[in-house]
Symmetry: C2
Subunit: 85 residues, 2 copies
Amino acid sequence: MAILQWLKEPEKNFPPHQDIDHFNDGVCVGYIQDKTGLSQSTISTYLNSMQNAHLLIPTRHGKWTYYKRNEEVIQAYVNTLKDTL
Amino acid sequence: MAILQWLKEPEKNFPPHQDIDHFNDGVCVGYIQDKTGLSQSTISTYLNSMQNAHLLIPTRHGKWTYYKRNEEVIQAYVNTLKDTL
DNA sequence: TTTACATATCTAGAAAATTAGATATGTTTT
DNA sequence: AAAACATATCTAATTTTCTAGATATGTAAA
Protein backbone atom coordinates (compact mmCIF):
# COMPACT_ATOMS: atom_id res chain seq x y z
CA MET A 1 0.00 0.00 0.00
CA ALA A 2 2.82 2.40 0.82
CA ILE A 3 4.35 1.81 -2.59
CA LEU A 4 1.05 2.43 -4.34
CA GLN A 5 0.64 5.64 -2.38
CA TRP A 6 4.16 6.85 -3.18
CA LEU A 7 3.58 6.18 -6.85
CA LYS A 8 0.57 8.50 -6.83
CA GLU A 9 3.01 11.42 -6.62
CA PRO A 10 6.44 10.25 -7.76
CA GLU A 11 7.90 13.76 -7.97
CA LYS A 12 7.13 14.31 -4.30
CA ASN A 13 8.39 10.97 -3.09
CA PHE A 14 11.39 10.17 -5.25
CA PRO A 15 14.46 11.96 -6.61
CA PRO A 16 14.56 12.69 -10.35
CA HIS A 17 15.89 9.98 -12.61
CA GLN A 18 19.29 10.47 -14.12
CA ASP A 19 18.57 9.56 -17.71
CA ILE A 20 15.05 10.95 -18.09
CA ASP A 21 13.44 14.02 -16.55
CA HIS A 22 9.92 12.72 -16.01
CA PHE A 23 8.02 9.95 -14.24
CA ASN A 24 5.75 9.08 -17.15
CA ASP A 25 6.61 5.40 -16.83
CA GLY A 26 6.88 5.45 -13.06
CA VAL A 27 9.85 4.99 -10.76
CA CYS A 28 12.87 2.72 -11.01
CA VAL A 29 13.26 -0.25 -8.66
CA GLY A 30 16.32 1.15 -6.91
CA TYR A 31 14.52 4.25 -5.70
CA ILE A 32 11.65 2.24 -4.35
CA GLN A 33 14.13 -0.05 -2.63
CA ASP A 34 15.88 2.90 -0.98
CA LYS A 35 12.59 4.33 0.20
CA THR A 36 11.50 1.08 1.84
CA GLY A 37 14.86 0.13 3.26
CA LEU A 38 14.25 -3.47 2.23
CA SER A 39 16.68 -5.62 0.28
CA GLN A 40 16.91 -5.57 -3.47
CA SER A 41 15.56 -9.08 -3.86
CA THR A 42 12.62 -8.39 -1.57
CA ILE A 43 11.57 -5.29 -3.46
CA SER A 44 11.97 -7.00 -6.79
CA THR A 45 9.75 -9.79 -5.54
CA TYR A 46 7.11 -7.38 -4.28
CA LEU A 47 7.05 -5.39 -7.49
CA ASN A 48 6.83 -8.57 -9.48
CA SER A 49 3.86 -9.85 -7.50
CA MET A 50 2.12 -6.50 -7.78
CA GLN A 51 2.75 -6.66 -11.49
CA ASN A 52 1.25 -10.14 -11.61
CA ALA A 53 -1.82 -8.74 -9.87
CA HIS A 54 -1.92 -6.04 -12.57
CA LEU A 55 -1.61 -3.32 -9.97
CA LEU A 56 1.63 -2.07 -11.52
CA ILE A 57 2.82 -1.63 -15.09
CA PRO A 58 6.53 -2.18 -15.79
CA THR A 59 8.54 -0.43 -18.50
CA ARG A 60 12.15 -1.11 -19.32
CA HIS A 61 14.44 1.85 -20.05
CA GLY A 62 17.94 0.61 -20.63
CA LYS A 63 19.27 -0.93 -17.45
CA TRP A 64 16.32 0.25 -15.42
CA THR A 65 12.84 -1.08 -14.93
CA TYR A 66 10.24 1.55 -14.10
CA TYR A 67 7.00 0.76 -12.39
CA LYS A 68 3.87 2.87 -12.45
CA ARG A 69 0.37 2.42 -11.08
CA ASN A 70 -2.29 0.72 -13.15
CA GLU A 71 -5.06 3.17 -12.29
CA GLU A 72 -7.83 1.23 -13.96
CA VAL A 73 -7.19 -1.95 -12.02
CA ILE A 74 -6.64 -0.11 -8.76
CA GLN A 75 -9.89 1.79 -9.10
CA ALA A 76 -11.75 -1.32 -10.16
CA TYR A 77 -10.45 -3.07 -7.07
CA VAL A 78 -11.55 -0.27 -4.76
CA ASN A 79 -14.95 -0.17 -6.39
CA THR A 80 -15.39 -3.90 -6.03
CA LEU A 81 -14.49 -3.61 -2.37
CA LYS A 82 -16.99 -0.82 -1.94
CA ASP A 83 -19.77 -2.94 -3.41
CA THR A 84 -18.86 -6.25 -1.88
CA LEU A 85 -17.71 -5.28 1.57
CA MET B 1 -14.85 -10.74 3.95
CA ALA B 2 -17.29 -13.59 3.39
CA ILE B 3 -18.69 -13.13 6.87
CA LEU B 4 -19.12 -9.40 6.34
CA GLN B 5 -20.90 -10.10 3.07
CA TRP B 6 -23.22 -12.68 4.61
CA LEU B 7 -24.12 -10.27 7.37
CA LYS B 8 -25.31 -7.74 4.80
CA GLU B 9 -28.35 -9.95 4.24
CA PRO B 10 -28.77 -12.27 7.23
CA GLU B 11 -32.26 -13.42 6.23
CA LYS B 12 -30.91 -14.70 2.91
CA ASN B 13 -27.82 -16.39 4.32
CA PHE B 14 -28.89 -17.82 7.67
CA PRO B 15 -31.84 -19.73 9.10
CA PRO B 16 -34.16 -17.90 11.50
CA HIS B 17 -33.18 -17.82 15.15
CA GLN B 18 -35.15 -19.97 17.53
CA ASP B 19 -35.75 -17.46 20.31
CA ILE B 20 -36.22 -14.26 18.29
CA ASP B 21 -37.75 -13.72 14.86
CA HIS B 22 -35.46 -10.97 13.56
CA PHE B 23 -31.81 -10.24 12.82
CA ASN B 24 -31.74 -6.79 14.40
CA ASP B 25 -28.66 -7.66 16.43
CA GLY B 26 -27.12 -9.86 13.78
CA VAL B 27 -26.48 -13.58 13.67
CA CYS B 28 -25.42 -16.01 16.38
CA VAL B 29 -21.95 -17.56 16.38
CA GLY B 30 -23.17 -21.08 15.76
CA TYR B 31 -24.83 -20.20 12.46
CA ILE B 32 -21.73 -18.44 11.23
CA GLN B 33 -19.67 -21.43 12.26
CA ASP B 34 -21.93 -23.82 10.33
CA LYS B 35 -21.77 -21.63 7.24
CA THR B 36 -17.98 -21.55 7.22
CA GLY B 37 -17.40 -25.14 8.19
CA LEU B 38 -14.62 -24.06 10.53
CA SER B 39 -14.29 -25.10 14.15
CA GLN B 40 -16.08 -23.34 16.97
CA SER B 41 -12.88 -21.94 18.46
CA THR B 42 -11.68 -20.63 15.13
CA ILE B 43 -14.90 -18.79 14.41
CA SER B 44 -15.01 -17.39 17.91
CA THR B 45 -11.47 -16.11 17.44
CA TYR B 46 -12.30 -14.56 14.09
CA LEU B 47 -15.40 -12.82 15.37
CA ASN B 48 -13.50 -11.57 18.37
CA SER B 49 -10.75 -10.07 16.26
CA MET B 50 -13.29 -8.46 13.95
CA GLN B 51 -14.98 -7.07 17.02
CA ASN B 52 -11.63 -5.69 18.23
CA ALA B 53 -11.27 -3.97 14.88
CA HIS B 54 -14.77 -2.53 15.40
CA LEU B 55 -16.00 -4.16 12.24
CA LEU B 56 -18.62 -6.13 14.16
CA ILE B 57 -20.87 -5.29 17.08
CA PRO B 58 -21.69 -8.07 19.56
CA THR B 59 -24.91 -8.40 21.53
CA ARG B 60 -25.63 -11.04 24.11
CA HIS B 61 -29.08 -12.61 24.14
CA GLY B 62 -29.18 -15.28 26.81
CA LYS B 63 -26.83 -18.09 25.85
CA TRP B 64 -26.16 -16.63 22.44
CA THR B 65 -23.90 -13.92 21.20
CA TYR B 66 -25.10 -12.16 18.07
CA TYR B 67 -22.82 -10.28 15.76
CA LYS B 68 -23.84 -7.57 13.32
CA ARG B 69 -21.92 -5.31 10.97
CA ASN B 70 -20.69 -1.95 12.17
CA GLU B 71 -21.69 -0.05 9.05
CA GLU B 72 -20.03 3.19 10.01
CA VAL B 73 -16.63 1.65 10.52
CA ILE B 74 -16.89 -0.52 7.44
CA GLN B 75 -17.83 2.43 5.25
CA ALA B 76 -15.14 4.60 6.81
CA TYR B 77 -12.62 1.89 6.03
CA VAL B 78 -13.69 1.61 2.41
CA ASN B 79 -13.62 5.38 2.03
CA THR B 80 -10.14 5.58 3.51
CA LEU B 81 -9.01 2.92 1.08
CA LYS B 82 -10.55 4.83 -1.80
CA ASP B 83 -8.65 7.96 -0.85
CA THR B 84 -5.38 6.43 0.15
CA LEU B 85 -4.96 3.65 -2.36
C1' DT C 1 34.07 -8.42 -25.47
C1' DT C 2 34.99 -7.73 -20.82
C1' DT C 3 33.35 -5.20 -16.94
C1' DA C 4 30.04 -2.88 -14.33
C1' DC C 5 25.50 -2.07 -13.04
C1' DA C 6 20.32 -2.74 -12.44
C1' DT C 7 17.03 -6.02 -11.83
C1' DA C 8 15.22 -10.83 -11.51
C1' DT C 9 15.09 -15.45 -9.70
C1' DC C 10 16.30 -19.25 -6.57
C1' DT C 11 16.73 -21.05 -1.99
C1' DA C 12 16.06 -21.22 2.63
C1' DG C 13 15.44 -19.52 7.39
C1' DA C 14 12.63 -16.55 10.45
C1' DA C 15 8.31 -14.63 11.55
C1' DA C 16 3.44 -14.44 11.42
C1' DA C 17 -1.18 -16.26 10.35
C1' DT C 18 -4.39 -20.06 10.50
C1' DT C 19 -6.64 -23.46 12.75
C1' DA C 20 -8.30 -26.97 16.01
C1' DG C 21 -8.40 -29.55 20.48
C1' DA C 22 -8.79 -28.93 25.25
C1' DT C 23 -10.52 -26.31 28.69
C1' DA C 24 -12.84 -22.32 30.88
C1' DT C 25 -16.70 -19.18 31.42
C1' DG C 26 -21.30 -17.56 31.31
C1' DT C 27 -26.27 -18.59 30.92
C1' DT C 28 -30.38 -21.33 31.05
C1' DT C 29 -32.96 -25.37 32.12
C1' DT C 30 -34.06 -29.09 35.09
C1' DA D 1 -27.21 -26.58 42.39
C1' DA D 2 -26.37 -29.83 38.73
C1' DA D 3 -26.56 -30.58 33.96
C1' DA D 4 -26.66 -28.90 29.40
C1' DC D 5 -25.53 -25.69 26.03
C1' DA D 6 -23.36 -21.59 23.58
C1' DT D 7 -19.40 -19.09 23.36
C1' DA D 8 -14.65 -17.66 24.78
C1' DT D 9 -9.87 -18.45 25.76
C1' DC D 10 -5.51 -21.06 25.99
C1' DT D 11 -2.06 -23.77 23.78
C1' DA D 12 0.25 -25.64 20.20
C1' DA D 13 0.90 -27.62 15.53
C1' DT D 14 0.65 -26.67 10.67
C1' DT D 15 0.81 -23.65 6.91
C1' DT D 16 1.84 -19.44 4.79
C1' DT D 17 4.17 -15.11 4.35
C1' DC D 18 8.17 -12.30 4.67
C1' DT D 19 12.71 -11.48 3.84
C1' DA D 20 17.56 -11.68 2.55
C1' DG D 21 21.80 -13.89 0.62
C1' DA D 22 23.51 -16.02 -3.37
C1' DT D 23 23.27 -16.34 -8.00
C1' DA D 24 21.51 -15.48 -12.70
C1' DT D 25 20.13 -12.48 -16.45
C1' DG D 26 19.84 -8.43 -19.23
C1' DT D 27 21.81 -4.02 -20.70
C1' DA D 28 25.23 -0.44 -21.19
C1' DA D 29 29.83 1.40 -20.69
C1' DA D 30 34.73 0.86 -21.07
